[in-house]
């Protein structure tokens, strides 16, 4: 990883973090009804976005995201303002027109299919895009992301099973961001395996478990995994152990968890780059404050944008014949 890339990743992580922190704050005011997001997953989710092949159609990657992929979207090029628009449920929200919760993206130009609130159903849908990609040829892959607790749904099996049929293996990159919790329930209380990759391995697919709090480890594992799926046209299961720094969502407070309880990947990356003399602590703080300010400015803009109209509920029910 060269210096430029390292700094680029840091910048995106900062942007994403500041965006999410603003969103969490919004949920404590009249600006938003709700927040949930990926604070603590940036070290992994940013490389996930940077390494993607982003575009429209079968030659590009398809994304079936979990609701914690904000920093992936930022890495892919999303304007944070769009996310604030959704969080503030403006009519200008490009992903849902003020209809859906934050982190519920939909962007056809990037093959980002609508994020659904129903945990794990994306695992049953992902084989469909992958099947089309495999038939089409090329090196586009289907990326599907999900949490640890959600793997208990039967859809987990559906996705793994459809992707490993003999001579019909599918180019799916399965990504489990394991933060050890489903809302309040700890991993150990509802699972019996050391990790979820063990289950996936039973299907005969390649798997790997990594420390998702480490940027370099994540970047490297993701490069290899993407590569494998792109070339072999077979599935890969990557499990990243990550943190959940603001808890589950605004429903459980959305507050920063006590210091030291879980590693902060942004701080770790900052400290590493400071140590490597790629950046000073002051640079970092300046950037962080600038992004924090920028998010507030964006929000101020967003606040001026119109709310949906009552009649909008009737838009986009059926596409016209």
């Amino acid at each position: 990883m060269d210096k430029k890339l390292k700094l680029k990743i840091l910048d995106i992580m900062i942007t994403a973090r500041c965006m999410e922190e603003r969103m969490a704050k919004m949920s404590k005011s009249a600006d938003a009804f709700f927040w949930l997001g990926g604070v603590g997953e940036e070290a992994f989710n940013v490389p996930l976005g940077l390494l993607a092949k982003v575009g429209h159609g079968l030659d590009y990657d398809f994304f079936h995201f979990h609701y914690r992929n904000g920093s992936t979207m930022v890495a892919m090029g999303m304007d944070p303002m769009d996310q604030l628009r959704q969080t503030h449920n403006r009519a200008t929200d490009p992903f849902s027109g003020g209809r859906n919760f934050c982190n519920h993206y939909a962007r056809k130009a990037w093959n980002v299919v609508p994020v659904t609130s129903t945990i794990q159903t994306q695992m049953s849908v992902a084989p469909g895009t992958a099947y089309a990609q495999k038939r089409h040829g090329g090196d586009g892959v289907t990326v599907v992301t999900f949490g640890d607790a959600g793997t208990a749904e039967g859809d987990f099996h559906v996705g793994l099973n459809w992707s490993t049929i003999k001579d019909r293996e599918l180019p799916v990159l399965f990504i489990c961001t394991n933060n050890a919790y489903g809302i309040s329930t700890h991993y150990d209380e509802v699972h019996g395996q050391d990790n979820l990759a063990q289950i996936a391995a039973g299907y005969g697919m390649k798997t790997k478990v990594i420390d998702g709090n480490d940027v370099e480890v994540s970047y490297e594992a993701l490069s290899k995994a993407y590569d494998y799926v792109r070339k072999e046209r077979k599935p890969f299961f990557l499990e990243a152990m990550v943190s959940r720094l603001h808890g589950h969502s605004s429903s459980s407070g959305g507050n920063r968890i006590p210091d030291g309880k879980e590693p902060d990947c942004l701080h770790a990356w900052r400290d590493k780059l400071v140590e490597q003399d790629l950046i000073t602590r002051e640079d970092y703080d300046r950037k962080y404050q600038a992004e924090t300010r920028r998010m507030l400015q964006l929000l101020e803009e967003v606040r001026k944008e119109p709310a949906p109209e009552p009649g909008d509920i009737y838009n986009y029910i059926f596409a016209s014949v």
């Binding site: 209809r99 056809k108 129903t118 049953s124 849908v125 992902a126 596409a319």
Partner: protein, 361 residues
């Protein structure tokens, strides 16, 4: 004349050749079987899915998201109930993304009793299906309509639920489908796969077999949302669909011949959207109506029709309008006695019709 399975098969063939259908799939949909009711024999884009309805609906959504045009089959409507959340997602995908992704997909499954199918080959699904927003729903009662509605379903850029009545799958039509050969034995020879006593024999018999599709098939289509007046009448409107069109037609004959009651019979064909104008015009004319189906009676689709008849024709009704549906029981029993007691029969229809037309307020 083609039976309904053949009609669907021909429409799917037309869809593959001319309308961009990319995948026709589901349990036992591909070779060697071509569907438990033969509806997908000989088609070129069929494949066998894992035995997994959630995976089937999920894959159909994924294929549609990726710009394909899938027709996914659920082998029996009885087994679609583990996918309702996914059907709901399909129905709200266009809306939730504010128009980003529409889903051009067809889900096809059979419904209703009548084949002595016991609890799990007798289910109705239309009431629940109609409560899932974002879907169009069609349900033919004749092979010709089956063809025309499939063509429309395939052309539609939205999720379309294509239901068909289990009991009528093998019933022959009374009208030729455009392009269908006149001689039905000829048609069978052309497009029915060879049979065999066991799966091993079937596989052997079909080795190398290819259908020879009728040349002249067209994109003959029935618009979604358009009902059919099966027979005109003046005393009573019966609104129904699927196999109860057949039963109601028999009942109407009895009513006419034996009792001089003239029934106007409407086959809805599309359940969502449905043909409000045709229904209301008929009810306004006759002043009396019976909504008929075989689904269980609590929160039944017929009650939705009744509600809108009330809403639009209340002051024109001259007698209490009624709904005749299946019995309020958990399922259909295997014994013919039980099945008949659970599903409206011709005699029940006659009985209700007489009650409505002779009622003194």
């Amino acid at each position: 004349m083609a039976n309904m399975a053949q009609a669907i098969r021909m429409a799917l063939h037309y869809g593959e050749e001319h309308l961009g259908v990319t995948d026709i799939f589901g349990e036992d949909v591909g070779p060697p079987l071509g569907g438990v009711f033969t509806a997908t024999q000989g088609l070129k884009t069929t494949w066998n899915s894992p035995l997994d309805e959630r995976g089937i609906i999920g894959a159909a959504i994924g294929l549609a998201l990726a710009g394909q045009k899938p027709v996914a089959e659920i082998q029996f409507g009885d087994y679609i109930f583990n996918t309702i959340d996914l059907l709901k997602l399909a129905g709200n995908t266009y809306w939730s993304g504010n128009g980003e992704y529409n889903l051009p997909m067809v889900v096809m499954t059979n419904v209703g009793a009548g084949i002595h199918g016991s609890l799990y080959h007798s289910h109705s699904f239309e009431s629940m299906a109609s409560h899932i927003p974002g879907w169009k729903i069609v349900l033919p009662s004749t092979p010709k309509d089956a063809y025309g509605l499939m063509i429309s379903a395939i052309k539609d850029p939205n999720p379309v639920m294509y239901l068909y009545p289990k009991m009528l799958i093998r019933a022959k039509g009374e009208e030729l489908i455009p392009g269908e050969p006149e001689d039905e034995r000829e048609l069978r020879r052309m497009i029915d796969a060879p049979i065999g006593a066991t799966l091993y024999d079937v596989i052997e018999a079909r080795d190398g077999w290819q259908p020879s599709w009728p040349e002249g098939l067209t994109d003959y289509s029935i618009p979604i949302g358009k009902a059919k007046i099966v027979r005109e009448g003046k005393d009573l409107t019966i609104v129904t669909y699927a196999r109860h069109v057949i039963l109601a037609r028999e009942a109407a004959k009895i009513l006419e011949n034996d009792l001089g009651i003239s029934v106007e019979l409407i086959d809805l064909r599309s359940l969502y959207p449905w043909d409000r104008e045709t229904v209301f015009a008929s009810v306004r004319k006759t002043g009396r109506c019976l909504v008929l189906n075989e689904d269980t009676p609590v929160t039944n689709y017929g009650e939705h029709i009744l509600h809108h008849i009330i809403d639009n024709c209340f002051y024109e009704l001259v007698a209490k309008p009624r709904v005749l549906a299946g019995a309020d029981v958990p399922a259909i029993g295997l014994s013919a006695v039980l099945e008949e007691a659970s599903v409206p029969q011709i005699a029940d229809i006659v009985h209700e019709a007489v009650a409505i037309t002779t009622e003194e307020p």
